[in-house]
Amino acid sequence: MFPHPIEKSSTATQITYKVLLPVALFVWLLPLIAVMVTSIRSAGDINAGNFWGWPREFNLIENYTAVFNNSPMGTFILNSVKVTIPTIILTLALSCMAGYALAIYRFRLNMTLFFIFIAGNFVPFQILMVPVRELSVNTGLYDTVTGLVLFHAAFQAGFCTLFMRNFIRALPFELIESARIEGVGEFRIFWNLVLPLVRPAIAALAVLEFTFIWNDYFWATVLVNGQHAMPITAGLKSLNGQWIAQWQLISAGSIMAALPPVAMFFLMQKHFIAGLTLGSTKG
């Protein structure tokens, strides 16, 4: 293990380390802590300029209900859910199949297609912006949740296919071969044999995609205009313009936007990190 294990060092070093840990964490998460504290401050505190001291009142319930009552925050959250969940399902369906095809079959364009999926995943959004927006306007998908879902699912299929292909490639190929010899059809091999085996990859991608899609701001700005379809990221930005200097409300809104991905990460940590660090340990 590197660096040198702390439990083999002197007591003084050990104590220093154990004190340093929470201090470092506090400094590191100061922005988040400040937002959390601010989100329960009273308007009086904010107006008096008490941003960093101990709150004089705790307005947890008042502030959060105020956000829901004075703004379409409820709609925004619902929209984010309506965009995120279908996108994950759709993109996973696309990429399980595509990844399976690229991992199992040998054909001439295999590598080319694989590389196109990878490359597409890295392109800057701006090169897609004008045509995708035009396409959405022409098909009536502009300013709808469906429009966002379709775009996200298509774009994320690049990354997910890369992930799935590498995961399936690492499975023992003999399994598939012996199923073929037994006369099992290709689709049934995929459905009954491979899909159950890639469950960990599906879990990893689902958590990862949840944060990607939930936190998307660019496409929420480009493809949506009205509040009826606006996800929470774009919604929060528009509320920031309305709630000038009402930091307790902006903070409460920020916490609401941040909470779902944070909770997702916390609950599914192992899968999340497995997804994120793909390729960083191998090759």
Binding site: E7, W28, P31, I118, M129, V130, P131, N215, V262, S280
Partner: protein
């Protein structure tokens, strides 16, 4: 023999099914690939070429397109705001790289076996999970010259707090600092995973050879962390060139376009109150795309070499 078989097959009513059966290994991959390929082509591949095409037109997004040839690119060569954005992109790229060593530093700090360390690791990772919109809002408030924490620190020392986001000299650095916060967390988690896989034997061997501390890090640990470093650099470069959210939230490119980057400048030209210049915006996007393409090709080339070696 096979020939006769297939002749008989073609005469039988089951001919169709047999054709599929015989060629299933050739047809199946395309059936599995089709949905993803169709979606990816419509939303990713085709738009790239459409954007390149549109960049040769003058177009407001509604009316007719007017062919202007390379006029948009000529205008770009003479556009101060374009150069400011390009220059800022370079600053972003260079300073964003700090996330890699900083992430390594925190990973080394956290790579211990004390009580509760797993919780510490996940808490350190939090900034990456939350939306950049939230990060942008929080940092704008931190930088606020009357109420922010920077102001507080300056006031304690009796100084005059700078208005970071309103000052052309500091604004880009202020936004980059906000962007580094989640990016460092990302690099940290890559390195933490990498450190998990460092071979204990080699560390032991290094110790016997008298390598300690920095020497050990440089000669024994870092070479083994190379895959993590590679991914960390790739995602950091992409992150720097994609920087959009923070600029949109914190300054909208201001003051006077001084914190603009290509990604935001493109959006601003094509889709904002300053007018809908789709063609000109597309030409900015093409430039950004070409810059990114250098990295994409580098990444693909590396993957290609690996695939050749691996299989």
């Amino acid at each position: 023999m096979q020939n006769t078989n297939s002749q008989i097959a073609s005469l039988s009513p089951l001919h169709h099914q047999n054709f599929l059966r015989r060629n299933r290994l050739k047809i199946a991959p395309w059936l599995f690939l089709a949905p993803a390929m169709v979606m990816f082509t419509i939303y990713v591949i085709a738009p790239i070429f459409q954007s390149i095409w549109i960049s040769f037109f003058e177009w407001d997004g509604l009316g007719a397109k007017t062919w202007v040839g390379n006029q948009n690119y000529v205008e770009l060569m003479d556009d101060d705001r374009f150069y400011t954005s390009l220059y800022n992109n370079v600053i972003w790229l260079v300073l964003y790289m700090l996330a890699v060593p900083a992430g390594l530093f925190i990973a080394l700090f956290l790579n211990q076996n004390v009580w509760g360390i797993r919780l510490y690791k996940s808490l350190f990772f939090f900034p990456f999970v939350i939306s950049q919109v939230v990060v942008g809002l929080v940092f704008s408030w931190f930088y606020d010259p009357s109420n922010g924490i920077i102001a507080l620190i300056f006031n304690i020392w009796g100084g005059n707090p700078p208005a970071i986001l309103a000052d052309e000299r500091y604004v880009t650095y202020g936004i980059i600092a906000a962007g580094l916060w989640p990016q460092i967390a990302y690099c940290m988690i890559l390195y933490l995973t990498g450190l998990n896989n460092v071979s204990p034997d080699q560390i032991e061997a290094g110790r016997l050879d008298g390598a300690r501390g920095l020497k050990m890090l440089w000669y024994v640990i870092l070479p083994q962390l190379r895959p993590a470093t590679f991914i960390a650099i790739v995602v950091t470069v992409i992150g720097a060139l994609r920087s959009f959210d923070l600029i949109s939230i914190m300054t909208q490119g201001g003051p006077y376009g001084s914190s603009n980057v290509l990604a935001y400048y493109m959006f601003e030209t094509a889709l904002s109150e300053y007018g809908y210049r789709m063609g000109y915006g597309a030409s900015i996007a093409v430039v950004l795309f070409l810059i990114m393409m250098v990295y994409i090709c580098f990444f693909l080339w590396r993957m290609y070499v690996q695939e050749k070696e691996g299989h």
